[in-house]
């Protein structure tokens, strides 16, 4: 691994590589989802707001 400082737990080479793979797939998924929502938006279909507890908390603490 090239990230300094070295982690105190061994993240594992295989775990690292599979993470990169899943992240790129998930990234593509998010991109597709966003574009799909944009396309739906052109036709005036609003997507359901995402249930994001973190955002709620952030808003609350402001």
């Amino acid at each position: 691994m090239h990230f300094a400082p070295l982690p105190y737990l061994d993240p594992g080479s295989g775990s690292f590589l599979i993470q990169l793979l899943i992240a790129s797939l998930a990234g593509i998924g998010v991109a597709l989802y966003t574009s799909w929502n944009r396309i739906k938006g052109w036709f005036g279909i609003k997507s359901k707001p995402k249930d994001d507890d973190e955002e709620d908390d952030d808003a609350e603490s402001k």
């Binding site: 993240p11 690292f16 590589l17 993470q19 793979l21 992240a23 790129s24 998924g29 973190e54």
Partner: protein, 476 residues
């Protein structure tokens, strides 16, 4: 984290992380923060992450204590030359004390799931503020005021763009794999966590999961492919050109983990006691009378910590927690514990902890030097033990002689509320139906005389509309 080691008060579960460690002094629990961790600690406190997590109950609060560090035991961790004399300690903090430490193999399905979701939620919040969890151990999560919360303040590192999540493997082993096995194979497989202290090995999980889970994107990638990748690239050096992960990709990745966890569900029912109260022989009056007595006696003795053994879904535990005690409400049946947790969560109860525990084989001390995880007994004794509708199971089904049962219960708590269920009771008859009655001393007199060896009997009350007796006893 509660097992005290024999020297220096340093606690033996927190030896792995060089950032700091727990120690106890004069009965108070402290965490030393080492210099090595100075920047990370400062970032946690100054970025607003600490405040945010504490506010929503995802991290236990602490105060910076005006205490000298606990140095002596740490000399060997210092730099090999020249640096030995320099203090490693940066700060001493005093975290809020968790009322009762429990372990993932003692949690019901939803408890483990909530602990997993809490970990991911903490990681997402941390990422927004430029930090990341450097470990994802289920043992770092405890139930505080009824909610899953991180208890290791030193679990954060500074996030660098491009960096993957170093705790990913641990998250899968501690959370995703056991949850998937519980939901899709058998709920009892959470007991694998008792053997594998760093979580279920992914190749084992992959083998045990039904093959249809290969059609589930989350489980296919995070368990099956993950296990194959581990095997294939074991020990391989990952070069920097192997690629980095943008923050956006990491966020999407965490979403994928979160959705894999959320999709796993398990519903209680079909196991031993799931609907116990529907098939029991109590009348409503007997039930209410018992509840009232437990509440009254807990109110009189005012125990801080109560262990309800064989609590089922916690009805009588609530009579005690209602009187102000913190109640560890344990049962051997995963369905009962799951129901208990759901009730507790729904009602936002703060002083009741449902726990999976087999009294005939309670959680042992385990891990490094047998000191990393405490035995159940080692986390006591309690101030009061509730043993309701339990004696006949231990004495008859499990063949424990009554004097040994009295010894055992006297060690576990100062006060005891115990119910004697006579042989004539239909529940006991059921236990005897397929076996010889080899229990000539299992009578009310035999019971009282065995328990008098270890206890003073303070109260003995016949339960209304039943043949059962309820006792309040104080150990000698």
């Amino acid at each position: 984290m509660t097992t005290p080691s024999q020297n220096s008060g340093q606690l033996s579960a927190s030896f792995r992380d060089p950032s700091g460690f727990l120690f106890s002094r004069d009965g108070v629990l402290y965490r030393q923060v080492n210099r090595k961790y100075e920047h990370e600690y400062a970032r946690l406190m100054e970025s607003g992450l600490y405040d945010k997590l504490v506010k929503v109950g995802l991290l236990i609060p602490h105060i910076e204590a005006d205490q000298p560090p606990a140095e002596e035991a740490r000399a060997e961790r210092s730099e090999p030359t020249g640096e030995r004399s320099r203090s490693e300690a940066y700060k001493v903090i005093q975290p809020e004390r968790v009322p009762f430490i429990s372990y993932p193999y003692e949690w019901s399905f939803s408890q483990l799931k909530d602990a997993a979701l809490a970990t991911l939620s903490i990681q997402r919040r941390a990422l927004k503020l430029g930090m990341s969890l450097k470990d994802a151990s289920a043992y770092n999560i405890q139930f505080v005021r009824g909610k899953a919360a991180l208890i290791d303040t030193l679990s954060f590192e500074i996030y660098k763009e491009g960096q993957p999540w170093v705790a990913y493997r641990q998250f899968c082993q501690h959370f995703l794999a056991p949850l998937a096995l519980m939901a899709l194979r058998d709920v009892r497989l959470n007991q694998l966590l008792r053997v594998y202290i760093d979580g279920v090995p992914l190749d084992l999980a992959s083998e045990l999961l039904p093959s249809r889970t290969r059609f589930n994107f989350g489980l296919l990638t995070h368990i099956h492919l993950h296990a194959s990748a581990q095997k294939r690239y074991s020990g391989a050096e990952v070069k920097s050109r192997a690629g980095t992960m943008s923050k956006q990709a990491l966020t999407a990745f965490l979403e994928s983990l979160d959705s894999a966890v959320r999709k796993l569900n398990w519903n209680p029912g079909g196991t031993e006691w799931g609907n116990y109260y529907d098939i029991t022989n109590y009348s409503e009056a007997a039930f209410e009378h018992k509840k009232r007595l437990v509440g009254e006696w807990a109110g009189r003795v005012k125990p801080a910590l109560v262990w309800d053994l064989g609590a089922n879904n916690g009805v009588f535990s609530r009579a005690a927690s209602g009187a102000g005690a913190y109640v560890v409400s344990s049962d051997v049946d995963p369905s009962a514990v799951e129901q208990n947790y759901r009730i507790s969560k729904e009602a936002k109860e703060q002083n009741l902890l449902p726990l999976l525990l087999d009294l005939t084989n309670p959680s042992p001390a385990s891990g490094w030097a047998n000191q990393e995880r405490d035995s159940f007994y080692g986390r006591g004794p309690a101030d009061m033990v509730l043993a309701l509708a339990l004696v006949h199971h231990l004495a008859i089904s499990n063949n424990v002689p009554l004097p040994q049962l009295a010894d055992f219960l006297a060690k576990w708590g100062k006060w005891l509320v115990i119910e004697f269920v006579p042989k004539s009771d239909s529940q006991v008859q059921k236990l005897l139906v397929s076996r010889d009655d080899i229990f000539p001393t299992y009578t009310r007199e035999g019971f009282e005389s065995a328990f008098r060896q270890r206890f003073n009997i303070r109260e003995a009350v016949p339960v209304q509309e039943s043949e059962r007796m309820l006792y309040l006893m104080e150990s000698l």
